[in-house]
Each structure stands twice: as C-alpha cells, then as structure tokens.
C-alpha cells in the first residue's frame, strides 16, 4: 500500500477516535464509543502492517502476543478498587513505549536537527512518564510510603537535573549518534527526573498525579509522532494529552490549589489548623436504623475508606432498602473522593448502583439542607467544614460537600484518627453529627440486617 493510501486510512482511524470520545459524553452511549475507538485502533494497526518497511514479522507477532496477553489478563483480573494502580502502570507502559520508539528512530541515519529534537522530547517525556508512573504505582499500592517525601534542597536538586538534562540534549543534537554518551545521560536523567517529580506528592494528591502522567503519556506519543513524521500518533497522542490536562485541572480546582502547589509544596507539612475539640456522639447500629427508617431523603457520601472496606455492595443494598421504604436516595460524589478521578462512581456502578443516582457536588450542595440523613462513608477531607470556616486550615478554600448542613449526619469511621491529610475535622463534633464507629462494611451490614428483620 502506498504511503498516501496508508495516510488516508489514518484519517479514518482518527475520525473513529474522535467519534469514540464524543460518545463517551454519556453513560448510555459510552460502550459504543469505546468500541468505535477500538475499531480506529484496529484500522491504524492493520494498515501499518501493510507497509513494507516495518519490523520483521516474527518480532511483531511475538511482541504483540506477549503484550496483548498481559493486557488481556490484567484487564480481566483487576479489582475495581485497584483501578488507580492499573492506570498508573498503563501510563508507565505507554511512556516506556514512546521512549523506545524515539530511541529506535535514532537509528535512521539522515535525521534533521528538528527530528532529533522531537526524538529527544519523546525520549525525555516517555522516560519521565515511565519512572514517575512506577513510583506513583508504588505509592498507590503502598509498596512504599504514600506520604510526601520532602527534603531541604529538593528544588535545587530538581533544577540541577533539569538543567543537566537540557544541556546533555543540546550536546547530543550538536553531534547526534546512537552511541553518543549524551544519549544515555539524557535517558538516565529523564528517568531520575520522573522519580524526583513524584516523590514530594502525597497520597491524597494522587488523583492529580495520575491525571498528569496520563497526559504525559499522550504527549510522549505525540512527540514520537513528530519524530517519525506520523500524523495518527500526533492526533491520538494530543487527544490523550488533552484528556489528562482537563482532568488535572478539574482535580486541582476541586482542591482549590494550583498545579504548582500540588507538584512542589509537599502538602501536609504545611501550617497547623486551629485545634478542634469537643465531644463526639457515638451511635449504635440500632439507633442508626431507627433514624434511617424515618428519613425521607438519604444521601451517601463515599470516600476512599469505602473502597478500602469494600463496602460498596452493602451500601447499595442499604440504598435499595431505603428506597423501598419510600426515601429518596442519592450518592453524592466529590471530584477528588478516592485515588483517581471518577473512582467512586466506578465502584458504585460495579455494585449495581444506577448512574442516575450518582450526583456531583454542585448538584447536592444547593439542596443539602433538605437531606434528612447524610451518610459519610470513609470520606474525611471532602466533607470537612474547616475548609469553609477555618482560615488556618491547610485545606481552607477547598470546595466540600456541605454534609454538616444536612439535618443529620452519620459518620462511619474506624476510630477517632484524623484523615489522610492529617487534618482535624470539626464535623465530628457537630450537634447534628452521630458517629458510627467500626468497620464501615460491618456497620452498614448490621443496619441492613435490622431493616430485613422488621
């Protein structure tokens, strides 16, 4: 097939990617959108295989079989709670693939300086994405500490790495060669920089980091597209880049912080909030049942703790019982609840909660004072009224779900420890707050048992 014809098919593939993303705009059409996008990918790969100057067949078949099987097994086995870890690893494999494409493209002899620059970009962005994603995976899966790692000269060290990387890249471009020591220096420094960039970011900020790395993996593909003069890589890569940037932006806004603040501040080591003291009012499952039975409208507010306790199924069961009892049930989801964008929604969807009951923060807050019972399950910072009232609080200014303005709030909590960011929560001492201590799954299950017993 001629290059022109192949490029024409690439246009068709790009159109399918675009339609696919468009249909992702609603849960009703999203499955079809994903299929369209997959068809686009199939076309792009198939016509590339008709090109004469490609990798030897035995290598293509071997590599595709190995990679494809790994992907298929992971996709079938992964738990919905572990989705952030999986996306982090996929970001990483996209990054390392771009690094290698760039590296392989250096073996073409007649590269222009512009091409060499784009090759280096794809190596640098790909390398950073790879090592950063592996570190993010380590933090998410708690193989290592998920806390922010901050040390004194961090910024100076990072600036040094960055300058060194740019210097090596320039030296490489002056005398490009696959055996240039500067090439290895650039690869090494890019990998190091990825690690250094993710180190100072704490666990609660992970949604931002995964989104950003997602974006980088697309930009790396984009740079690889420039390196080998291929338009489908540029189109697809920039779509992924845009998706990541948009999500990053939404996450930052939902925390009322700038991207720079998330990336560099080492959150949590900051100022001390005004200490809140007071008496908590514990409640038993029996009492909780009596209040819920009388409630006309109930809103569940899930957080990462729900995922940890695997409580989503019992929560859905309780939601259904409450509906049968005549109450209006909704699930209010803060944009940064969980460890990645939309994490809670997927968990609840897995537990068969219909998506029309999943409401966003902006929708629930105006009518929160009509909610009889707000049930907070494993969420903390996203419902902390200090974000609204206490100027000294490290999370001051962050938009929250105003559960404290509901008629009654149940907080399901293991014990009286503070949340992920280590911030005290005055919600626990509120007049209308009742604490249901213990494992979230067991607490909800005992309320469900009460409902079934009557």
């Amino acid at each position: 097939m001629s290059i022109e014809l192949i490029n024409l098919w690439y246009v068709a593939a790009a159109a399918l990617f675009i339609f696919g993303l468009k249909q992702l705009g609603s849960p009703a059409t999203a499955v079809r959108g994903n299929t369209l996008s997959a068809m686009g990918m199939f076309i792009a790969i198939a016509v590339t295989l008709l090109n004469k100057n490609i990798l030897p067949w035995e290598w293509i078949i071997g590599a595709t079989l190995i990679g494809g099987s790994i992907g298929a097994v992971v996709a079938q086995k992964v738990e919905m709670t572990s989705m952030p870890e999986m996306v982090a690893l996929f970001n990483g494999s996209g990054g390392v693939a771009s690094l290698m494409v760039g590296w392989a493209a250096l073996y073409n002899i007649d590269n222009s300086t512009f091409t060499n620059i784009t090759i280096l970009l794809s190596i640098i962005i790909g390398g950073m994405t790879f090592s950063g994603s592996i570190l993010a995976w380590g933090k998410l899966s708690e193989v290592m500490t998920s806390a922010a790692v901050v040390f004194g000269a961090q910024r100076i060290v990072n600036a040094g790495i960055l300058i060194g990387m740019v210097a090596c890249a320039v030296l490489f471009c002056l005398e490009p060669s696959v055996s240039s020591p500067y090439l290895y220096a650039v690869i090494g420094l890019a990998l190091l920089f990825g690690i250094m960039a993710v180190l100072p970011i704490g666990g609660a900020d992970m949604p931002v980091v995964i989104s950003l790395l997602n974006s980088y993996s697309g930009l790396a593909a984009c740079a690889a597209g420039f390196a080998i003069n291929n338009n489908i890589l540029i189109v697809a890569g920039s779509m992924v880049g845009a998706a990541g940037i948009i999500l990053t932006n939404i996450m930052c806004k939902a925390m009322n912080r700038s991207l720079a603040n998330v990336l560099f501040s080492g959150f949590g080591a900051a100022k001390q909030a005004t200490r809140v003291e007071g008496e908590v009012k514990p409640i038993t499952a029996d009492d909780a049942f009596l209040i819920l039975e009388a409630a006309q409208s109930v809103s569940f507010v899930p957080g990462y703790g729900m995922a940890v306790a695997q409580a989503q199924h019992v929560v859905r069961e309780l939601g259904e019982l409450l509906e049968k009892n005549g109450a209006e049930v909704s699930y209010a989801i803060h944009p940064v609840a969980g460890r990645m964008p939309g994490h809670m929604n997927v968990l609840l969807a897995e537990a068969n909660v219909p998506y029309d009951q999943l409401v966003e923060m902006e929708d629930i807050n105006p009518r929160i004072d009509n909610v009889d019972v707000a049930v907070v399950i494993g969420a903390n910072d996203v419902v902390n009224p200090a974000a609204r009232n206490d100027e000294n609080s490290p999370i001051y200014g962050m938009p929250i779900i105003n559960v404290d303005q509901a008629r009654t709030v149940f907080v399901l909590k293991r014990s009286m420890a503070s949340g992920f960011s280590g911030v005290d929560n005055p919600l626990f001492f509120g007049d209308n707050t009742r604490m249901l201590f213990g494992d979230a799954k067991q607490s909800i299950a005992s309320v469900v048992a009460e409902f079934k017993g009557t």
Binding site: L21, L24, P27, A30, V31, N34, M41, I45, T48, N51, N53, I54, L55, W59, I60, G62, A63, T64, I66, G67, I70, G71, V74, A75, M80, M86, V87, N91, S93, G94, A97, S98, M100, V101, G102, A104, A105, Y107, S211, N214, A224, G225, F226, I232, I234, V235, G237, M239, V240, G241, A242, A243, I250, M340, P341, G342, H343, A349, N352, P354
Partner: protein, 100 residues
C-alpha cells in the same frame, strides 16, 4: 514544510480534544482515563515503523519491546474500559448478572 503541517495537525487535534473531553461527565472519568491509556497505545504504530529497515539489530529489539509495551496498553486499555462501562446501568433497566 512537513513540520509546519504536523504542527497544524497538532494544534487542531488539541483544540478538538479539549472540546470533546470537557463534555465527558465526572461519572465516566475513570473509564475516560483507561480509554486514554488505550488510545496512547497508538505508539504501537510508531514502534512498527520506527525500527524500519532492520539494518541494526538493536533498533529491532527496541522496536519489538515498544510493540510489546504498547500492545499491553491497547489490549488492556480497551478491554478494561469496556468492562467498566458495561457496569454503568440506568435505573429500572435490565440488569443482566445483577442481583435482584
């Protein structure tokens, strides 16, 4: 000239990407990310081409490794996205496999 043309493609697709993706509801942000993982597997096309004429065995090894990593993204990304999206059900619709 080629570079200018590619830059034009880049600019247009970034704008289009922003338009399309800002309309994706928060509920679908996780599938959006895994779907983006799958699309970023487009690097597989680059990997097939980049190793090119096969003059140097090292380029072939790099290309093959890149094909493998990108294939993880393509296959894994689309399958897991499909798995997740199939879980999103509207109320009162049939729920195959769900408990009554």
């Amino acid at each position: 000239m080629e570079a200018v043309f590619l830059a034009l493609v880049l600019m247009l697709s970034i704008f289009l990407g922003f338009e399309l993706i800002s309309k994706v509801p928060a509920t679908l942000h996780t599938p959006l990310m895994s779907g983006a993982n799958a699309i970023s597997g487009i690097t597989i096309v680059g990997a097939l081409i980049a190793a090119g004429d096969g003059s140097d065995p090292l380029a072939t090894y790099l290309g093959a490794a890149a094909v493998m990593f990108a294939a993880i993204n393509v296959v894994g990304g689309y399958l897991v996205t499909n798995r997740m999206l199939s879980m999103f059900k509207k109320k009162d619709s049939d729920q195959p496999g769900g408990q009554a």
